[in-house]
């Protein structure tokens, strides 16, 4: 969802094309088009800042998720160990 929004925001080529067209025609709304393009760049930057999970590179993110999985497994094992502690081994 957020990625789709970002895709729209980061699609600069049509706006740039509009700008080129207005320059070629030397029309009056050239300045307006250029300001629009500028504001689009600004919006795109804000949008990128809001994207989830992009604070790391993909490799780093994969590493982190691997660490988290390992943590979860080890914690699960620790819990199991604690739960099994209730059965006292009377033979030892």
């Amino acid at each position: 969802m957020a990625a789709n929004v970002a895709e729209n925001e980061l699609n600069f080529l049509p706006s740039i094309y509009e700008g080129i067209k207005s320059i070629e025609k030397d029309s009056h709304d050239m300045n307006q088009k250029l300001t629009d393009l500028k504001s689009q760049f600004q919006k795109a930057r804000e949008c990128v800042d809001k994207l989830p999970g992009v604070q790391y590179s993909k490799e780093e993110q994969l590493k982190r998720i691997d660490i988290l999985r390992k943590q979860l497994i080890s914690k699960q094992e620790l819990l199991q160990k604690y739960r099994n502690l209730t059965n006292f081994d009377l033979e030892t």
């Binding site: 895709e7 980061l10 795109a44 989830p52 999970g53």
Partner: protein
């Protein structure tokens, strides 16, 4: 934030596109005869723009994947946090049970110690019963069940017991006097073969006897028979019955 993070990459790409587009607009707006010979070609710039746009698209795809991974990471994180809380609770419970067990073990050790002490200093139950008999044989602990006035067995310490006791050997003159008077009373009651009624009074306190109106003069004389003064009193009282009434 990591230097080569996807966010940084996207921001760099946006910067690049902005710069290239500016350059493109500048080249296009300047008249062709004023163009610098070393200036960038518009076609080249456009190609560069398209390339950058492709890069942005591919990076956005990566970002999309990363967003999915992020959701998985978030769920993993919540699970890890949940486990953390459970582990903490379990550890707390274990610590608590450890303290309880350690106190129980300590108490058990103390009990074992006392059991061992008892085992080393064994006393047979027979011996204990014998000792109990020795104490209670003289009726010093409690009166015999069948005790009645006139019974020679005493539910209280005898004169001999009193003299042997701490009070009898004490330095107080008062206590000595008391013991002496007690001895007189007991001597009287032992030596005289008095009737049951008088004997029952023998262990009462002397002033109480004088106050009691129903007591016969004979009983009083029996009670204080050995004292010379008492003998005189006895004579006086026997002479006239009015004196006894005056006493009242």
């Amino acid at each position: 934030m990591a230097a080569n993070s996807t966010r940084q990459k996207l921001l760099c790409l946006i910067d690049d596109i902005e710069i290239v587009s500016k350059e493109l607009f500048e080249t296009m707006s300047t008249p062709k005869n004023q163009l610098r010979p070393d200036g960038a070609d518009t076609v080249m710039l456009m190609e560069l723009l398209v390339e950058k746009d492709k890069e942005i698209k591919s990076t956005l795809k990566i970002a999309e994947e990363q967003a999915e991974i992020q959701t998985v990471m978030d769920s993993l994180k919540t699970q890890v946090d949940k486990r953390d809380i459970e582990i903490k609770i379990l550890q707390k419970n274990l610590k608590e049970s450890e303290t309880i067990l350690s106190t129980a073990v300590y108490q058990a050790q103390q009990k074992l110690e006392s059991i061992n002490q008892a085992n080393t200093k064994k006393i047979s139950s027979e011996e204990l019963i014998k000792f109990a008999h020795r104490i209670s044989a003289s009726n010093a602990v409690a009166a015999p069940v069948t005790w009645a006035p006139g019974d020679p067995r005493r539910p209280y310490p005898t004169d001999l017991d009193m003299r042997q006791g701490f009070l009898g050997q004490g330095t107080y003159t008062d206590t000595l006097a008391v013991s002496r008077s007690n001895s007189q009373i007991s001597n009287v009651s032992e030596t005289n073969s008095t009737p049951v009624s008088s004997n029952s009074l023998s262990w009462q306190h002397p002033p109480e006897v004088s106050i009691t109106s129903s007591i016969s003069h004979h009983a009083i004389s029996d009670f204080k028979g050995h004292n010379k003064e008492n003998e005189e009193i006895e004579l006086m009282s026997s002479d006239s019955s009015s004196s006894s009434s005056s006493d009242e």
